[in-house]
C-alpha cells in the first residue's frame, strides 16, 4: 500500500508529490497517463512561467523540469503511460498501462488531473462540420509537440490565454491570423498576453463579437462573425465574413473530474471542481485535490503553491489521521463567481488562509470585503479586477475562527 497516490503528473501533481515527500512521506507514487511528466506545460513553449515561484521567466517545459529535477533525488515512484480508470471512496485505484491492468491502494490520494478545453459543442456554433476547427490547445500540441501546422488562415474565437498565445505562435510559424473574436466586452486572458500576442502583431481583437456560422463541407472555408448585444445575442446587420481555413477555439477550460465524481466526492457546480478545505481536502477524508482540477488558474506558479499545500496536508493525514474539526463555510457575495477554498477547518494549524476567487465583471477601483453577517472582518483594496484574472486574498486565520460562515464580496470603491 502506498502512503500517497498522486493522480496526474502535471505541475499540480509534481508539486504535491514533492511537498508530501518534504513533509515526511516516503512511499509516494505519481500516476501519469502520458509518456513523460510535465502535463500541459510540455506544449507551452512560450515564456512567462515561474515569475512568482522562481523569480525568473521560464518556458513551460523549463518550469516542469525544475520540479522533475527536484523529484529525482527523492523516493517518489513515477508510473508513466498509466491511466487511472477508477478510484473508489475507500482509496482503491484501478490503473491501466501497457505493463498491466491492476488495482493499487493508497492511504491518501491527491487529485491533480488538470482541466480540458471547452469545444465547439459547448457553445453550439451553428454551421457545417468541416475539418479545420480545433481547440487552441490541440493546435498547440500539433505545432509544438509534433511540428505540424493546423492551418494557414486563422481566426481565433475566445481571448483566453491559450488562444492569445496561439495567435502569436501561428503568426510566427507563417500563418495569417485574421482576427481574435471575443463574446464578452472584455478579454478573458491576461493583459500582458493581449499586448504581446495580439497588439504587437497587429491582430485585431473584436470584443462583444462571436462566430455565428461555420462553412465548408470538407475543410473549413469561412466563418461569419457578428456583434452581440448586452444579452450576448447576435445583432442583425453586423455580419462580417472571414475566408479562413482554420478556427481555433479558446472558449474556456473545464476541470477534469470524472474520477472525482465517480468516487462520490462533493462537487462545486461553480468551479466544476471538488469542494475543498483550506488544506485542499475534499469531502472524502484523505482525498485531496489541487491545481486546475479544482479551479482553473491563470498562472502555474499559483498551481504549484496550492498543490504544495495539498501534498503537505496528505502527509499530515497519513501521519496523524483526519482533522476532527468544525467547518466554516465561505459564501460568495455580490459579484464573486466562486471561491477556493469553499470551506475551512476551524481548528486549522495554518496561520493564514489563502482565498482565491474570480469576479463576475470588470471593476476599476474597488474593494473586496470579507465579512460575516454585519461584521466586517477584513477589507482589501484593488486597483483593477477582471474575470480573466484570478484574485488572491491572504487572511490571518485567527480573524476567521469565531465565525460559522464568512462572505467574500466585491464592491466599487
Amino acid at each position: 500500500m502506498y502512503e500517497l497516490a498522486v493522480i496526474g503528473g502535471g505541475p499540480a501533481g509534481l508539486a504535491a508529490a514533492y511537498s508530501a515527500y518534504q513533509n515526511g512521506l516516503r512511499n509516494i507514487v505519481i500516476l501519469e497517463r502520458d509518456k513523460e511528466l510535465g502535463g500541459i506545460l510540455n506544449q507551452c513553449i512560450h515564456n512567462g512561467f515561474g515569475l512568482h515561484r522562481f523569480k525568473e521567466e521560464l518556458s513551460g517545459p523549463e518550469y516542469a523540469h525544475r520540479f522533475i529535477e527536484m523529484l529525482k533525488d527523492t523516493s517518489v515512484e513515477v508510473r508513466l503511460d498509466t491511466m487511472v480508470i477508477e478510484i473508489t471512496d475507500d482509496k482503491k485505484i484501478f490503473i491501466n498501462s501497457p505493463k498491466g491492468y491492476e488495482c493499487i491502494e493508497a492511504q491518501s490520494i491527491v487529485l491533480s488531473m488538470g482541466c480540458r478545453e471547452r469545444t465547439r459543442g459547448a457553445i453550439s456554433i451553428p454551421g457545417t462540420r468541416p475539418s479545420g476547427v480545433f481547440t487552441a490547445g490541440a493546435a498547440q500540441r500539433y505545432l509544438n509537440m509534433e511540428g505540424l501546422m493546423a492551418g494557414k488562415r486563422v481566426v481565433i474565437l475566445g481571448s483566453g490565454d491559450i488562444g492569445l498565445i496561439m495567435a502569436r505562435r501561428m503568426t510566427l510559424e507563417g500563418a495569417k491570423v485574421l482576427a481574435c473574436v471575443e463574446l464578452m466586452p472584455y478579454s478573458g486572458g491576461l493583459t500582458r498576453n493581449i499586448v504581446q500576442c495580439l497588439d504587437d502583431f497587429g491582430i485585431p481583437l473584436y470584443l462583444s463579437h462571436t462566430v455565428t456560422e461555420i462553412r465548408g463541407d470538407k475543410r473549413l472555408e469561412g466563418i461569419t462573425v457578428m456583434k452581440v448585444d448586452e444579452n450576448r445575442q447576435p445583432i442583425e446587420g453586423t455580419e462580417m465574413d472571414f475566408d479562413c481555413d482554420t478556427l481555433l477555439l479558446s472558449v474556456g477550460l473545464i476541470p477534469e473530474n470524472e474520477l472525482t465524481r465517480e468516487a462520490g466526492i462533493a462537487m462545486d457546480p461553480k468551479t466544476n471542481g471538488a469542494f475543498v478545505f483550506e488544506n485542499m481536502e475534499t469531502s472524502i477524508e484523505g482525498i485531496f485535490a489541487c491545481g486546475n482540477a479544482v479551479h482553473v488558474h491563470d498562472l502555474v506558479d499559483f498551481v504549484s503553491a496550492e498543490s504544495e499545500r495539498a501534498g503537505a496536508a496528505a502527509a499530515e493525514y497519513v501521519k496523524n489521521g483526519a482533522s476532527d474539526s468544525e467547518v466554516i463555510e465561505i459564501v460568495n457575495g455580490a459579484d464573486v463567481g466562486y471561491t477556493v477554498p469553499q470551506k475551512l477547518h476551524r481548528n486549522t494549524k495554518a496561520e493564514k488562509i489563502d482565498v482565491f476567487f474570480r469576479v463576475r465583471r470588470v471593476f476599476s477601483k474597488s474593494r473586496v470585503v470579507v465579512s460575516s453577517g454585519d461584521t466586517e472582518i477584513a477589507v482589501f483594496k484593488k486597483a483593477f479586477m477582471v474575470p480573466g484574472e484570478m484574485q488572491h486574498l491572504v487572511i490571518p486565520t485567527d480573524k476567521l475562527r469565531d465565525f460559522d460562515t464568512i462572505t467574500v464580496t466585491a464592491q466599487e470603491a
Binding site: I85, N96, R116, S124, P130, G132
Partner: protein, 471 residues
C-alpha cells in the same frame, strides 16, 4: 460480372449486402463516400421505433414491426450497441390525447406488442423529469436505442467477410441497361451486374432516372440535434416523443447507447447534402424539447449535427423490382428501424423475380468486437496481458484503448479517417470531442496505414486536418 450491385452503403445498402452475403452471389456495393454510413445513417435519432406510427397496411408499418425482433437479434450477433428501453409519446392536451388513442389503435393493428396508454401519474412514475403538463402517454416497450453507424458497419463488415466487395469513393454517374446486364459507370470504373439495387438515399431518384422513366422525387428534409454530456444521460430513461404532427415525429429526448442524451430533430426542407445546423434550427429544437422535459440542461451540450432525411413524393417506402432493377428509395423514418425487414423484403423480391438464391455451404453471421470499457476488472487484466496496446488509453472520455483503435484499422473495412475511427470504436465521441485524442488518433492512423499525418482526413475525402508546411 457481378450478380448484384448495390448502390449506396448506408444502413439500407449494408443490410441488404449482409442479407445477400449468405447466398452464392457475387455482390458489389458501390459507395460515393469513403466509408460506410456517411449519409442519413450517421445523423438521425438512433431509434428502433416500435411501429405504431406508420399508417396501417403500409410497407413502413409492416417492415418496421417485422424488424423489431430482427434488429435485436442482429445486434446481439454482430456486437452492436443496442438497448431496448421502450418509448413514450407524450400528450399535452385533450386533442393530443385523442391522437394517442389513435396511435394506440394503429399500433395494435400494425401488430406492435405491449402497447399501453399511461395516465399522467403513470407517465411521471416512469419518467420523473417530464413536464407536469403531460395529460397521458403511449408506452411502447419494444422501442429501442441503437448505434446506427456501428450497426451499418457491422453488417457491411460481415458481408465483406463473406465475400462481398465494397468500392468506396465511387459515385455512380451513369447506368446503361443492355439485354443481359447493367453497366454502371462510377468515376473511372465500369461495373457490370445482372441485378442493381438502388439504395442511394438522397440520390435514389437520380439513380432511378438513369435506368427507368421518372416516377418519384426525393425531397430532402433536414433535422438538427444536440448531444449532451453523459451527466445528462439519465435525464430520461425512455425515448420520449411528442405527438407527431405535420413536421414529423417531433422533437424527442432520449438516452443514447453511448450514455449521452440526444435531443432533436426539427424538420426543414434542405439541399441533398446540406448537413449544417442553423441557429434557428437549434433554437427551435431547444424550445420544443423543454416542453417535454423542462430540466434538460443544454449547457452540457457536446455536439450539434444535422441529418438529411430522404423523404420522397410517395408517402410510403418505395421498394419494388423492375426487370432486374430494384428501387429501395425514400427510406425516411422509420428507415433505420426497418432496415432488417427491408433487406428481407428485397430478398423476397429477388426470389420472386426468379433469381436463384442458394445458400453458401458456410458463411459467417456473427462478429465480435472488443470494448475495453465494457469488460470486468478481471477481463481487462487478461486483455492487457494478451496485448499491451489495450493497456494504453487513447480516448480518455470514452476509455478507448490503442488496442481497440488498431483493431478498428485492421478490420475488414479499413477506416482511413479520424471520424472513421470514431464510428468504429468511439474514440473522439465523448465530451472533449477528440480535442485530446485527435492528434493521437492521427498518429496511430498514420503509423498503421503508413501515410504522412498530413494525408489523414477528418471525415470525407480531402477533409485534411493538417496543412503541409512550406519553409
Amino acid at each position: 460480372m457481378y450478380d448484384v450491385a448495390i448502390i449506396g452503403c448506408g444502413i439500407t445498402g449494408a443490410s441488404i449486402a449482409y442479407r445477400l452475403s449468405r447466398f452464392d452471389l457475387k455482390t458489389v456495393v458501390i459507395e460515393k463516400e469513403n466509408d460506410v454510413a456517411m449519409g442519413a445513417t450517421r445523423a438521425n435519432s438512433a431509434i428502433v421505433h416500435a411501429g405504431y406510427d406508420p399508417e396501417e397496411n403500409t410497407l413502413m408499418a409492416k417492415l418496421n414491426v417485422r424488424s423489431v425482433e430482427l434488429t435485436k437479434e442482429l445486434c446481439k450477433n454482430l456486437s452492436v450497441p443496442y438497448a431496448q428501453i421502450g418509448s413514450l409519446v407524450l400528450a399535452f392536451s385533450e386533442e393530443e390525447a385523442q391522437h394517442i388513442e389513435k396511435l394506440y389503435k394503429r399500433g395494435i393493428n400494425n401488430g406492435v406488442e405491449g402497447l399501453r396508454v399511461l395516465s399522467a401519474e403513470e407517465t411521471k412514475e416512469k419518467e420523473p423529469f417530464v413536464s407536469d403538463d403531460v395529460v397521458c402517454s403511449l408506452y411502447a416497450p419494444t422501442a429501442a436505442i441503437i448505434s446506427p453507424w456501428e450497426y451499418a458497419l457491422a453488417l457491411a463488415e460481415t458481408a465483406v467477410v463473406n465475400g462481398t466487395q465494397i468500392m468506396f469513393s465511387s459515385e455512380v454517374s451513369d447506368i446503361k441497361k443492355t439485354d443481359e446486364m447493367f453497366v454502371i459507370r462510377a468515376g473511372e470504373k465500369e461495373i457490370k451486374a445482372k441485378t442493381v439495387i438502388n439504395a442511394a438515399g438522397v440520390q435514389a431518384d437520380r439513380i432511378h432516372d438513369m435506368v427507368l422513366p421518372h416516377e418519384f422525387e426525393i425531397i430532402p428534409n433536414k433535422g438538427a440535434y444536440f448531444i449532451l454530456d453523459k451527466c445528462e444521460g439519465t435525464r430520461t430513461k425512455h425515448v420520449v416523443f411528442q405527438c407527431p404532427n405535420k413536421d414529423g415525429k417531433g422533437v424527442l429526448v432520449s438516452p443514447t447507447v453511448h450514455g449521452n442524451l440526444i435531443v432533436g430533430p426539427n424538420a426543414v426542407p434542405s439541399e441533398r447534402y446540406d448537413t449544417s445546423a442553423k441557429l434557428s434550427d437549434l433554437v427551435f429544437v431547444k424550445r420544443k424539447a423543454i416542453k417535454s422535459v423542462p430540466s434538460v440542461d443544454f449547457r452540457t451540450n457536446i455536439k450539434n449535427f444535422s441529418g438529411v432525411r430522404p423523404n420522397s413524393t410517395e408517402s410510403d417506402f418505395i421498394i419494388k423490382s423492375t426487370d432486374g432493377f430494384i428501387d429501395v428509395a425514400g427510406i425516411k423514418s422509420p428507415g433505420l428501424a426497418s432496415a432488417a425487414g427491408i433487406a428481407e423484403y428485397v430478398e423476397q423480391l429477388m426470389c420472386n423475380s426468379g433469381i436463384r438464391l442458394s445458400e453458401k455451404t458456410s458463411y459467417i453471421k456473427d462478429r465480435k468486437q472488443i470494448r475495453f470499457k465494457e469488460l470486468s476488472h478481471e477481463e481487462r487484466k487478461k486483455l492487457v496481458e494478451s496485448n499491451p496496446l489495450y493497456g494504453r488509453v487513447i480516448c480518455r472520455c470514452e476509455t478507448v484503448t490503442e488496442g481497440e483503435i488498431v483493431d478498428a484499422i485492421h478490420r475488414p473495412i479499413v477506416p482511413r479517417t479520424v471520424d472513421g475511427i470514431k464510428r468504429r470504436c468511439g474514440a473522439g465521441l465523448g465530451r472533449c470531442q477528440g480535442g485530446f485524442c485527435g492528434p493521437r488518433v492521427v498518429e496511430i492512423l498514420s503509423r498503421e496505414l503508413k501515410v504522412d499525418r498530413e494525408e489523414i482526413a477528418k471525415d470525407r475525402d480531402v477533409s485534411y486536418i493538417l496543412k503541409r508546411r512550406e519553409r
